[in-house]
Amino acid sequence: MDTVWGDNVAQNIAFYLIAAIMVGAAIKVVTSKNVVHAALYLVAVLIGMAGQFILLGAEFIAATQLLVYVGAIVVLFLFGIMLTRAQVGSDPDVDTTAAQRTTGGFVAFILLVVMGYAIYGTEGLSETKLPEERVQTIAEVSDSIFSTYLVPFEAISVLLLAALIGAIVLARRD
């Protein structure tokens, strides 16, 4: 740790770059007057998160982050906006009241304190060094799916098939 950039210069530069983008996008999420834009900024934050996971060598979590959050949850958000609000575009009504802002700020502050304590208040994290070369986690996950968790994997596919058929049957009109 000779320089400010630490051992792994490229990785750290990438971290700060992505972190800056994430913070900027996160601020836009709460300040944007357009709900759709806010949702898209949220996508930027979540993709940035996936990028951080890749920097940590956790590709599987990164892929899950993309699939679940960007792929499913944000799409749900957008569907929700589409189905509930006719007006897609800038909307002055979207501004929050003072009470809402105070509550939001309070919750965010508490979150900051808790996370700050977890990182700096306890001994563990600052001393922990990540191992140099990470094992291929995706390979490990796939190995365990086809060995240890073979039956649960297959059982889930039966479960999902039943859920799929059920959803179609119930949603279809006569």
């Binding site: 073979l150 039943a162 058929i165 059920g166």
Partner: protein, 519 residues
């Protein structure tokens, strides 16, 4: 160029170093009954969406019955293998599926409920204008979930089986789209089921936290070899698991959903719910509590004792005051669940044998009863009040007689399966020195007998006024052949078990579950 070549070599060397993945051995032959059910559902759905001829009436039902039969036939060689003293029970696919007499018998029972439900559904779906093959596909998928649950040796697998079983049934309960009660039933069952799944899953997490494994064999070994000084987490886990199972077997106080759901769901689906779901849920309950947590039986016995007492008494008393026959049967199924819990509570091999015997007899009694109810319900599936049964003996003497047999069997009258089943349960309770519980069980069956007699009286005596007999013609019920076949099978099974209980008793004795570790 050379450097690139070298690095290529390095990559090749790395690839060569990979050891082949150590996949668990899959015992296909032993899993065949399960694979037939799950595969049958998928194939049925695919084929009937491609082949027009499958839309002809009765084809889908016939295919479902064949799949069920094939599954039962596939059980036979596995059963013989397991009962062979040289080979015995074993665990399949890396220790997560237990193949023993218990899981095979449960598979057979679930497949039998599939057959009975499919026979009842055939006419019902046409009568109610519910088209499509989805019901049969869901029936088979649900059954395969039940089989997974009944033969799971791992809590995660058991949970997934439970979910597959339940999700298909939520949809099947709500399939009757023009009946608001059916929608309500599906929705209620879904909400309550989601709650119970959450309890169950939380219980799994707690048990995992206390024992360090979700595998039943490893849990049992851990608890046998280690003395937990502080077992609060394990106790909590056991309690949550019991709540989860309690919802699924509809034991009091987790029975609230049962009457509404049983009443609202299409009657053939109710038949399946009452038979297959109870079998699968009790199979899971017995596997977890009798096998894996057997060393802690002193802790869970009082809880099951309480559930059993409440279920028997409340189920029987609430059933008597109902006027809707479907609701009566729902409450009576709660009372039956109490009886099986009495057998489980004994915590002995005899108790488990009695529970298996009871479940086997119950599948046929209850499927047959709901089969009759499905026919009497007629178009609209609404004629279920006691008044709709008045004079059934006049218009349809055969149907009335069949219902009488099922009701007498549920009441526990000698020469029917119910008598031997109840006798075994009470004997097991007495053997385990639970005298009070045995006494309460007898009392509950007396209360329940009132209910069954009420329905029989309604069918045979046409009213208060004896002179007005002729004016009551009785309901005009048509009896299609498949439904008649289902009721016939159920009657033969009920009477055969009642007259010759020795065979089933032997089978039930051979079907006591065991935990086998991986070799």
């Amino acid at each position: 160029m050379i450097a690139a070549g070298l690095s290529n070599l390095g990559v090749l060397a790395q690839i060569a170093e990979f050891t082949p993945l150590d996949t668990p051995e899959v015992q296909w032959a032993a899993l065949l009954p399960l694979l037939i059910l799950a595969g049958g559902g998928v194939v049925l759905l695919t084929v009937s969406s491609l082949v027009k001829a499958m839309a002809a009436p009765g084809v889908n039902a016939a295919a479902t019955v064949l799949v069920g039969l094939a599954s039962i036939i596939a059980c036979v060689p596995v059963w013989q293998r397991v009962q062979d003293p040289e080979r015995g029970p074993f665990t399949a696919v890396g220790g997560v599926i237990g193949i023993d007499g218990f899981s095979i018998l449960a598979t057979g029972l679930i497949a039998a409920s599939v057959i009975l439900a499919a026979l009842l559904l055939d006419d019902y779906l046409r009568r109610e204008d519910i088209d499509g093959v989805e019901m049969y596909a869901l029936l088979l998928l649900s059954a395969s979930g039940g089989v997974i649950m009944a033969s799971a040796n791992d809590l995660i697998v058991m949970f997934l089986g439970l979910e597959a079983l339940s999700i298909a049934i939520y949809v099947m309960a709500a399939m009757h789209r023009r009946r608001i009660e059916s929608q309500e039933a599906g929705f209620k069952y879904f909400i309550v089921g989601a709650f119970s799944s959450a309890f169950f899953l939380y219980g799994i997490a707690m048990v995992y936290g206390a024992t360090g494994s979700t595998n039943l064999v490893e849990i049992a070994t851990f608890l046998a070899n280690n003395l937990l000084l502080r077992n609060g987490v394990l106790m909590l886990g056991m309690a949550l698991l019991l709540v989860g199972f309690g919802f699924k077997v509809s034991a009091v106080p987790f029975q609230g959903w049962t009457p509404d759901v049983y009443q609202g769901a299409p009657t053939p689906v109710t038949a399946f719910m009452a038979s297959a779901v109870k079998v699968a849920a009790f199979a899971g309950l017995i596997r977890v509590f009798y096998l894996a947590l057997g060393t802690y039986s002193l802790d869970w016995k009082p809880a099951i004792y309480a559930l059993a007492v409440l279920s028997m008494i409340i189920g029987a008393t609430f059933a008597v005051v109902q006027t809707d026959v479907k609701r009566m049967m729902a409450y009576s199924s709660i009372s039956h669940a109490g009886f099986v819990l009495v057998a489980v509570q004994a915590g002995t091999e005899k108790g488990v044998t009695a529970a298996i015997f009871y479940l086997t007899s119950y599948v046929f009694m209850v499927a047959g009863s709901f089969g009759v109810i499905s026919l009497v319900g007629r178009r609209g599936d609404a004629a279920h009040s006691l008044d709709d049964y008045r004079g059934l003996s006049r218009s349809r003497p055969g149907l009335a007689l069949a219902f009488t047999v099922f009701l007498l069997a549920q009441a526990g009258v000698p020469l029917t399966s119910g008598f031997v089943a109840k006798f075994n349960v009470i004997a097991a309770a007495v053997d385990a020195r639970s005298f009070w519980l045995a006494l309460i069980a007898m009392l509950a069956s007396v209360i329940a007998a009132v209910l069954y007699l009420k329905i029989i009286v309604a069918m045979y005596l046409t009213g208060d006024d004896a002179e007005a007999d002729d004016s009551v013609a009785g309901p005009k019920v048509s009896i299609p052949l498949p439904a008649a076949a289902a009721i016939g099978i159920a009657i033969v099974a009920t009477l055969a078990i009642g007259v010759l209980p020795g065979y089933l008793f032997e089978v039930a004795g051979d079907a006591v579950p065991v935990l086998i570790a991986l070799p």
